[in-house]
């Protein structure tokens, strides 16, 4: 499992009340489907990112459940409506239970 921190871009960290904020995220992950064979013809074991959550403080915004149709180094873009200041908390979980976390402060202008 890699230790590269997730890449995160936010359209505005100090949005107006009601503004739509766009978030782009990408984590480094092999997303091994369990369908591939290695050089010796053996199936490479499945290793997938299976869950993503975005919360503003404790309020859940969205959950994403990627399957094997999602590309390596999963990229996710989403938008949310800025209704309160808080800490945008992002969480990725993979098959082996490894968790990647990231946080960004959102402050209403």
């Amino acid at each position: 499992m890699t230790t590269t921190p997730p890449r995160i871009w936010m359209s505005n960290e100090t949005p107006q009340q009601g503004e739509i904020v766009r978030v782009r995220t990408q984590v480094a992950h092999v997303m091994e489907s369990g369908f591939r064979l290695d050089a010796a013809g053996q199936i490479m074991p499945r290793q997938m990112m299976t869950r993503f959550e975005a919360r503003l403080d404790d309020a859940l915004l969205l959950t994403w459940l990627p399957e094997i149709g999602i590309a390596q180094n999963p990229y996710l873009e989403f938008t949310f409506k800025a209704q309160a200041s808080g800490l945008l908390r992002l969480l990725w979980v993979d098959d082996s239970g490894t968790e990647i976390r990231a946080e960004r402060q959102v402050t209403l202008a």
Binding site: A59, L60, W64, P66, I68, G69, F78, F80
Partner: protein, 165 residues
């Protein structure tokens, strides 16, 4: 006569020899060892995708509107095909998008991913990158909190499969 003006003159024979040797050894290898690098098989038809869609709709007839689907017509890199989908109608505390799924209809596992939204998000727009095994239709479905099912569908052409990557 090989001169310094023609540096490749001396290489022609040996290069041809290398190519012939490579062809000969490739012919001796069993095909299975060089051809197959994945056990993934595309779906023969959209039956599995239709089953997933019907399960998601839960008996409600999908409406082919309300979702803006942004997908290239030609996926030049099937291992990472950008897809963006958005519920285009205004969302509120009363009517929001509860759940959204993306179905790559002929992939070995057609369900590419599933989103669940809460009313707190106040929006329903996502962008992801798919991997596709072949040319196929891609379907996005959304369940609204008032029970409606929205749907958008588009064909995409890809050159080589990306599922083995």
């Amino acid at each position: 006569m090989t001169s310094w003006l023609d540096p490749f003159a001396g290489l022609v024979l040996s290069r041809r020899g290398v190519l012939l040797g490579a062809a000969a050894s490739a012919a001796l290898l069993p095909w299975a060892a060089v051809a197959q690098d994945t056990t993934a098989k595309p779906q023969p038809d959209t039956a599995e995708a239709d089953r997933i869609a019907a399960e998601f709709a839960g008996g409600t007839a999908p409406v082919a509107s309300g979702i803006g689907l942004d997908l290239p017509v030609l996926g030049d890199n099937p291992a990472a095909v950008p897809l963006r989908a958005k519920v285009t109608e205004p969302l509120s505390e009363a009517v929001w998008c509860e759940e959204m799924i993306v179905i790559a209809e002929l992939n070995p596992q057609p369900l590419a991913c599933r989103f669940s939204f809460t009313p707190d998000i106040g929006s329903a727009e996502i962008g992801i990158r798919l991997r596709l095994i072949q040319t196929m239709p891609v379907r996005v479905m959304a369940r609204m909190s008032d029970g409606r099912i929205l749907m958008a569908r588009q064909d995409i052409t890809v050159t080589a499969g990306g599922c083995g990557m």
